[in-house]
């Protein structure tokens, strides 16, 4: 049994061969040159099922250098299955250092969250994207959606928001909330909660999006404007659960709701585990934080 820290030497650095990484880097560079544009690329079979982050893994593999420090999160957590497997995959195939601290990482692969700690210049945030096309569920034809992007025909994306308001009285889309990038391309920010949408815009880090099954890569270069779409009389709201974190007491972080027994008792905790841990180490405590934080 190989331990997590033993690097494998049978594969090329970071699993993919150099020609493949070169192909992916070309797609990434094109994506950065045209923010929000979906660049097709020859996605490879990866040793994990589609839907587990094959797109993100390929982008990360193409970005990694031996000096990098990698952080992998899944729904904000460093310790869930997806995050642990991908982190270990790169420890073994690339031998890179890993970390759980957001500010120490140089490359962060994420599934469905942007870390609470603000990113800084020089960092790369890699998103795993299931369906890159924001218009897909309204317009099933790929030829037609490409044409709509080409000609900037984005009326349809507002039809989706209209339907939300007509049915629910408000824009009920809570994740994968569409944004318009630099007043040009409408982009699906991957299924991050819309609470994270404001962090997309003007972010100092490079943000890369990889969709393995759909074979698309797109990107937001540093300090790119990304505006969440809305109506004049129903403006965009970056919503979260109306509670404080029960462990660290944070009032401004995105929360997960956890059912704690069979009688419906529940607690709200930061979905970003690193953010929550650092706050508790700094002495902050929430409603249940004193008893659980010391364990």
């Amino acid at each position: 049994m190989m331990t997590a820290t033993t690097a494998m030497t049978d594969y090329n650095f970071a699993y993919l061969d150099e020609q493949t990484k070169r192909m992916i880097r070309r797609a990434i560079l094109k994506g950065i040159a045209i923010p929000g544009y979906q660049v097709p690329f020859a996605s490879r079979e990866m040793p994990m099922p589609y839907g587990w982050g094959t797109g993100g893994v390929q982008v990360t593999a193409a970005c990694l250098v031996p000096e990098d420090r990698l952080k992998v999160i899944d729904q904000g957590a460093d310790d869930t299955t997806n995050a642990v497997s991908i982190r270990r995959f790169f420890q073994r195939t690339a031998g890179v250092a890993v970390t759980e601290a957001t500010s120490d990482a140089t490359v962060i692969q994420t599934r469905h969250r942007i870390p609470e700690t603000p990113l800084h210049e020089g960092q790369i945030l890699v998103y795993q994207v299931p369906i890159p096309e924001p218009l897909r569920f309204l317009e099933p034809r790929e030829t037609e959606t490409r044409k709509m992007h080409e000609l900037e025909e984005y009326g349809l994306i507002h039809v989706k928001l209209y339907e939300d308001i007509a049915r629910h009285g408000q824009i009920a889309t809570a994740y994968a909330y569409p944004v318009k990038v630099e007043d040009r391309y409408v982009m699906d920010p991957s299924p991050i909660p819309k609470f994270d949408n404001p962090k997309l815009s003007g972010n100092p880090a490079i943000q890369l999006f990889g969709a393995g099954r759909e074979q698309r890569i797109y990107a937001l270069p540093p300090y790119t404007e990304a505006v969440s779409l809305d109506f004049e009389d129903h403006p965009f709201v970056a919503s979260k659960a109306d509670h404080d974190c029960d462990l660290c007491g944070a009032a401004n972080s995105y929360l997960d709701e956890v059912i704690t027994d069979n009688h419906g008792a529940r607690m709200f905790v930061c979905s970003d585990t690193d953010f929550c841990r650092v706050r508790r180490e700094d002495g902050y405590a929430g409603r249940l934080g004193a008893s659980q934080g010391d364990q």
């Binding site: 209209y162 049915r167 129903h234």
Partner: protein, 260 residues
């Protein structure tokens, strides 16, 4: 009668479309003036739908010009950039399909369907969009409380009326209709025709209606073109053509209508 100084809204010159060696439609020329309704009749395979698709920009014709009087003056829609043509298609033009399923988004509510064109031209105020949608549903005789229902919950006649509302909401100047009453029973047809006639007169629309139903053109069209095998065999004022057909095929067509 038409004033000689009025320039045509749509001017078609020597339009041809071939499918390989076969003729789709050949050497079609006509002018359509503002407020005029032109009927195109002919049997299946006579090229009338091909012609309509070429006019509406869905197909690229092989030869000829389709000159439309845009707000910036007459422009050949065949040569114009696709972005401009598609902008015309969602502002100045409307296209009513024979099957409402082709023209509607079946997974989107009636209000969303009507509002789509508004949002496509930049409307970003939910309340205004909804008010206009309800207003237009009223104009096509769909009750306001159906605004949040999906078209799949509508009858065929209602779907067709919804498609018309969806197309006319942005106030187009030219409407292309491909068999608008096809597949509807006669009483629903009659209501739809009544509605269409009212809207065309009220809004001063120009329209090109392709149909094989002579009763439809008798009611709606000012002028008539009869097509056979991709060629126009006869054209003239509707009553003139139907009451005194000159070409053998037109005579056959007129005499084929069942009298009840």
């Amino acid at each position: 009668m038409l004033d000689a100084s009025i320039s045509p809204l749509l001017s078609v010159q020597n339009l041809s479309k071939f499918y390989g060696a076969r003729i789709g439609c050949k050497a079609i020329s006509f002018d359509l003036y503002p407020g005029e309704v032109l009927g195109i009749v002919g049997e299946s395979g006579s090229g009338k739908s091909t012609l309509l698709s070429c006019l509406a920009g869905h197909l690229a014709p092989d030869t000829g010009k389709v000159i439309f009087a845009t707000a910036q003056g007459p422009k050949d829609t065949v040569l114009m950039a696709e972005a401009d043509r598609r902008r015309l298609a969602r502002t100045d033009w409307a296209f009513v399909h024979q099957n409402p399923r082709d023209g509607l988004r079946m997974g989107v509510s009636a209000g969303g369907n009507v509002g789509e064109r508004l949002m496509a031209v930049g409307a970003r105020h939910y309340g205004d969009i909804r008010t206009q949608a309800v207003d237009w549903l009223g104009r096509v005789e769909i009750a306001a409380d159906r605004v949040d229902d999906r078209p799949s919950a509508f009858s065929g006649g209602m779907q067709q009326r919804l498609q018309i509302a969806r197309n006319l909401v942005t106030g187009p100047r030219l409407v292309f209709m491909d068999e608008p009453t096809g597949g509807l029973d006669v009483s629903v047809q009659a209501r739809l025709l009544d509605l269409l006639r009212g809207l065309v007169r009220q809004m001063g629309l120009s329209a090109i209606i392709v149909t094989h139903d002579l009763a439809v053109v008798r009611l709606l069209a000012d002028r008539l073109m009869v097509m056979k095998d991709g060629h126009v065999v006869e054209q003239g004022l509707t009553d003139q053509v139907l009451d005194d057909p000159q070409h053998a095929y037109t005579q056959l067509l007129v005499s084929s209508v069942l009298q009840v």
